[in-house]
Amino acid sequence: MATLNPFVFRPGHSNLHYLDTRCKFFLVCIVSLSLLKANFPACFILLGTLIFFIQQINLELGQTLKHLKYFILFLVFIILARALTIPGDPLVQLYGISITHQGLYEGCLVAFRFFLVMVTGIIFSNTTRPANLKNAVQWYLKPIPFVPEKRVGIMISLALRFLPLILNQANETRNAVHSRCGNLEKNPVKRFIRLTLPLLKKTFLSADHLILAMEARCYCENRTDPEFKPSGKETLFIITSLGFWLCIQFF
């Protein structure tokens, strides 16, 4: 059995699972826009809300954080970069390099915002079927002329469907390389090539098989789309998120 990464859909019965995908799409956009100007108190309020939803969808927080270890490392890098480059009152000084109070504050805030965007994305992908996401993308793109909305929709849903498979294949390839002591190779370029070449080959082969399998089941663009099923709570969610956004804009 494959291990689920944090970005795959998990069936469930939470409010978010039953929320119309178009509404969830809108909420993700509003939350991301709000975070551009959010200060620490606003970020903590949003974090509390997101933790509430994480508990509602039964997502294991520890396991999820473990999957995000490289992203968290990236956030630490952002904090350090900001702390070292933004001028201000020095907090620590060593060999002429200083970590400033203002830099640390800015770095933590930016990292916090990135983290919240990531958690929002995880909650969204855990509660949204790729098929419904495809449908919502189609719905939003339909009024735009010259955009093949059905093709864009199917590309997004397939990418979401196959990203976990590619990650699993990358893991298998890495294990195969390590089992032959490939991890002892010091040259990062060689290590990269040894991992990516077999992975790309496998991915393209899988894509070929997928095309055949879809063709064998009469795949075409003009197909029955999933229905939108509003749960009735969409207005409440939209008003609350807009209220949050306005508060951040004006306070």
């Binding site: 079927r129 469907r161 498979l165 055949l212 009469c218 197909r223």
Partner: protein, 248 residues
């Protein structure tokens, strides 16, 4: 004499590099058949079965479905001749078991109510209804294979083609899958199966086709051809060798 559903006449296919895939293949499939297609690796089994529902086009020869060339209506062909591929993981596109089975009927643009009814019926038929909300990637190998069969069965095919369905399955998975396929055949479903695993299918399959170097070299009943397997590089079932010294 029974009227054939599918007639394959002098089918020949060459790969883009010029090498022969299959050469002058002729046979027919009638309703209720359980045909196994055996041959060494590279003998052309997969190439042949991919022609049967129009995924590959022949260089010469033709395939007729109910007397009409399959290439004239590919949608009807693919609806009538369903195909289950070897690797279930690359075949499954749905994010839940239910969505995966609904993929085919959605492509046929059926009404949503009809799709829901048909999917539920097929899931019940294959005992997958309890798993309907599960993510397919969390299923066992045997369950994934059953799911791929459900994805084909929901389109009401007259013939189901399997490409190495027992590959990478453990013994319980193989037994469960075999029992599902045998039940389908006993209920009138026509089966064509490319496989190496002749032993598993003893007692289930009625007819055997043996391929060698792209040619169909034998076509006959399972019992008539069982002793000819070794001469074409295919392992004879152990149960047929009683009294002979054991060979690995």
């Amino acid at each position: 004499m029974a009227i054939p559903i599918l007639e394959i006449n002098h089918l020949t296919h060459q790969y883009p590099d010029g090498s022969d895939g299959i050469i002058d293949i002729c046979f027919s499939v009638t309703k209720g058949d359980f045909i196994i297609l055996v041959g060494k690796n590279g003998s052309g089994k997969t190439t042949l079965i991919r022609h049967l529902n129009g995924l590959l086009r022949p260089q010469s020869g033709e395939i007729k479905l109910h007397g009409k060339n399959i290439l004239k209506d590919l949608i009807l062909t693919r609806k009538t001749v369903g195909m289950v591929f070897q690797d279930a993981d690359t075949q499954i596109v749905g994010d839940t078991v239910f969505d995966e089975v609904a993929f085919g009927p959605e492509n046929l643009n059926l009404q949503r109510n009809l799709i829901n009814t048909k999917v539920t019926q097929v899931l019940e038929q294959l005992n997958l209804i309890k798993l309907k909300d599960r993510n397919p990637s969390t299923l066992s190998g045997g369950e994934k294979r059953k799911l791929t069969i459900a994805g084909i069965l929901v389109m009401d095919p007259e013939i189901i083609i399997f490409d190495e369905p027992f590959a990478n399955l453990d013994h319980p998975g193989t037994q469960s899958l075999l029992s599902t396929i045998a039940d389908l055949n006993q209920n009138g479903q026509t089966i064509v199966m490319a496989t190496h695993d002749v032993e598993t299918l003893m007692g289930s399959a009625s007819r055997m086709l043996i391929m060698d170097k792209g040619r169909l070299v034998e076509d006959g009943s399972f019992t008539d051809l069982i002793k000819k397997l070794e001469s074409h590089g295919i392992k004879e079932p152990c149960t047929c060798r009683i009294g002979r010294p054991w060979q690995p």
